[in-house]
């Protein structure tokens, strides 16, 4: 039992690791040196340490500055999206968001009367000229050097000015006390993890900076069965959808990539590849939807249905 106590002390000291004292793992061998709260170096067995997701791994200041040398960028291939909604569930699971809160959502757009409808995944665009950041009175939402726009929910006063200012309606508000699951309730809040959610504050897609620090792709990118999302670093000029890694500039050049509503001057960091030579008929994403989600797209998919009332 003594070792277990030490492990707890050590956990508290390093902050990014959690202990799992209940189950001892087989094959104990590796020892880890950690700093205890008393300033002592203690050596404990690595089996007592368990890496846990969503523990704040950086300070608030670092979460404000961002990852040095990076410039995150996303490319969304509209030709590949069939509204499988796997990205949405993965996002909600990772961020512990309830089902109705979609940081990432898939819209059905139809650019003109004669135009063909297409699925349009939309997350925060992490604009380089962000209208939301401009209007925040307390610097609770900010732009980082790595291009990410984050929200500090410890500072947000809930004035909702950023929500009114965002032309893409990306942000969501915690109107009621969020229903937090047991495992995240007591976690230390950090803007990079965005967990736990707080009532009366604003939140949105954060490009998963905590995962980026570990070299992982955002869950939406990983979960997409069709490789719609490419995520990467503009400085390195590479983006990947998990299975193929390509040059960002080449991809934008070859596929005529564009930014949504460029004319607003917000300079988004999310690029879209036009829905040309589509892999799936648009109906594929409509037919098997739950009825309440299906209803969202009825106006476009079944125009006659509601017009007769």
């Amino acid at each position: 039992m003594k070792t277990a106590t030490i492990a707890t002390v050590a956990t508290a000291a390093c902050g990014s690791l959690a202990c799992s004292c209940s189950s001892k793992k087989a094959g104990i061998s590796e020892k880890v040196k950690l700093l205890s709260p008393d300033g002592e170096i203690v050596e404990i067995d690595s089996a007592y340490l368990n890496h846990q997701e969503h523990m704040a791994i950086v300070s608030k200041l670092e979460a404000r500055e961002g990852i040095a040398g990076k410039k995150f960028v996303m490319v969304v291939d509209l030709a590949l999206c069939k509204n499988a909604r796997k990205c949405i569930t993965a996002c909600q699971k990772w961020h512990y968001r309830p089902e109705e809160t979609e940081w990432l959502t898939v819209k059905l757009l139809k650019d003109s009367d004669k135009g063909a409808p297409y699925w349009f995944p939309k997350q925060c665009f992490h604009c380089d000229n962000p209208p939301c950041v401009k209007v925040c009175p307390v610097d609770a939402t900010y732009k980082r050097q790595d291009g990410i726009v984050l929200i500090d929910n410890d500072r947000c006063i809930g004035c909702k000015f950023c929500m009114a200012a965002c032309p893409y309606s990306t942000r969501v508000f915690n109107w009621d006390e969020p229903d937090l699951s047991f495992d995240i309730k007591d976690l230390a809040y950090n803007p990079e993890t965005g967990i736990p959610a707080k009532v009366g504050t604003v939140e949105k897609c954060d490009f998963c900076p905590d995962r980026a620090r570990e070299g992982l792709l955002p869950p939406c990118v990983e979960a997409c069965p069709n490789g719609v999302f490419y995520f990467g670093d503009e400085n390195e000029d590479t983006v990947t959808n998990g299975s193929e890694t390509v040059s960002f500039t080449q991809l934008i050049k070859d596929r005529a990539g564009y930014r949504y509503m460029e004319e607003l001057g917000t300079k988004p960091r999310v690029y879209y590849l036009p829905p040309k030579d589509r892999q799936f008929p648009v109906e594929r994403g409509y037919e098997n939807l739950d009825s309440n989600i299906k209803k969202r797209f009825e106006d476009i998919m079944e125009p006659g249905k509601n017009s007769k009332k």
Binding site: C136, R155, W175
Partner: protein, 451 residues
């Protein structure tokens, strides 16, 4: 403090209203307090259960609270402009209503900001506005504007009150001791000496000169909370002047109604004369025309240019299934009606003008609603949301209760203040016989012939 016979007469007339707090006043006070308590209950719900108890949701993030905020704070700015102009022009005719304009200023600048606080999700973090201020944000500009204006308005009212406070002090009014003490302290030993008089006049002039442009600036800043965003109907260059004019216009209406009420309840017919009503009616008519012109320009350019989102908004505002009837009401009752009532000599009467003003004020409140809510319901990307409360805003009863409480506190402050100071300022009041002059002076021919 010495008063001339006319001023003494005005004071003696109003004296009983300062000394007595009749049954009717108690009844009203309790009524308003009950209303405020009901509002506090709604506030408790909102704090305990989050903003989910309101009708606001992710698309329409602002509702009744912001509408009330704009409305009340607009009254405040208007009061300061009107009082400032009346003071600087030194019109004897305006003197009896300056006090009311200033009361409106100070009361609305207290009531208005309460509503923006109600709209804030985290009450407990308001100090963040001061410890993490971000100067780029129009919200920060507005915090500074409101606070600056508040200080200015308090000073403006107070400086203008000093002479009267000295009168009340010297009159030995019946009533509680603390009030006598308050009069004594607040009148800071004013006796009406030459040097005192000079200082007071200079301060008053300066404050009037400061308050007029300040009101214009702060009203514009208020408009920029909306104008600076990229939303249809808000992102407009005329929003600053539009809000200034809207404030002044609705403020004129509220002032006319307040004049009417106090004239009736305090029997002030000799001071707040029909002539003042007529002149205020003219002011209201001119402002109505100006506001109508701005509204027309807004709608006409949006409709004619017919950009995608502008058209969507215009369609919402003008189709009967959505906001069409409200738009019609706001423009008929808010613009056409006051112009008509004042333009026709037969209805250019005190009661008619007041009725038109009252209806116009309500219409102007509706107009603010039409500025805020339909724009928020017009998102640039299609909403594609099946949750009806997210698509269309409808205010919930806690919001209405709090709106009622705000209105009740507005009335309550008026009631209490009119028990502490006279509604018509007595010092500096001048006898106005304009009506008499008008009628007795024959119109000379060369007066009406062009030069």
């Amino acid at each position: 403090m010495e008063l001339n016979s006319y001023q003494q007469q005005a004071f003696n007339h109003q004296r009983p209203f300062l000394e007595k707090f009749g049954k009717w006043n108690w009844l009203l006070t309790f009524f308003f307090i009950a209303w405020i308590i009901a509002g506090l209950y709604a506030l408790y719900l909102q704090i305990a259960y989050g903003h989910g108890v309101t009708g606001m949701r992710d698309n329409v993030v602002w509702g009744l609270f912001i509408v009330n905020f704009i409305f009340f704070i607009g009254l405040s700015y208007a009061g300061a402009i009107i009082a400032g102009i009346l003071h600087l022009l030194k019109l004897p005719l305006g003197k009896p209503i300056v006090r009311l304009a200033q009361m409106m200023t100070i009361i609305s600048i207290v009531v208005g900001p309460i509503f923006i606080l109600l709209c804030v999700g985290r009450f407990d973090r308001l100090h963040h506005l001061f410890i993490y201020p971000r100067i780029q944000s129009p919200m920060t500009w507005d915090v500074m504007a409101v606070l600056t204006f508040f200080v200015g308005a308090v000073l403006f009212l107070y400086i203008a009150l000093i002479k009267d406070l000295a009168v009340y002090r010297d009159a030995g009014l019946k009533g509680p001791k603390w009030r006598q003490w308050l009069y004594k302290t607040l009148s800071i030993g004013y006796r009406g000496g030459a040097s005192q008089k000079r200082h007071l006049i200079i301060s008053q002039n300066l404050l009037a000169i400061i308050m007029i442009p300040l009101s214009i600036i702060v009203a514009s800043i208020l408009s920029w909370i909306f104008g600076m965003t990229l939303r249809p109907g808000w992102h407009s260059t005329i929003f600053g002047p539009y809000f200034v004019l809207g404030s002044l216009y609705s403020g004129t209406g509220v002032l006319i109604v307040a004049m009417w009420y106090y004239r009736k309840s305090h029997k002030l017919e000799n001071y707040i004369t029909d002539q003042i009503f007529r002149y205020m009616g003219y002011a209201m008519m001119v402002l109505a025309a100006g506001y109508g012109y701005f509204t027309f320009s807004e709608y006409f350019t949006a409709w004619f240019g017919s950009e995608k989102w502008d058209s969507e908004l215009i369609h919402k505002l003008f189709s009967p299934g959505e906001y069409g009837w409200w738009t019609l009401f706001a423009n008929l009752a808010g613009i056409i009606l006051p112009i008509t009532i004042v333009a026709i000599p037969a209805t250019r009467k005190t009661n008619w003008i007041t009725a038109a003003a009252l209806i116009m004020v309500i219409a102007m409140w509706v107009k603010r609603y039409l500025i805020i809510v339909p724009t928020l319901e017009t998102t640039l990307l299609p909403m594609q949301d099946t949750r009806t409360e997210y698509v269309k805003y409808s205010a919930t009863w806690p919001e209405w209760l709090l709106t009622g409480a705000g209105l009740a506190s507005f009335f309550l402050f008026f009631l209490l203040m009119s028990k502490f100071v006279t509604v018509v300022p007595v010092s500096g009041l001048e006898e106005t016989n304009h009506k008499h002059v008008h009628e007795s002076m024959p119109v000379k021919k060369e007066d009406i012939q062009p030069a």
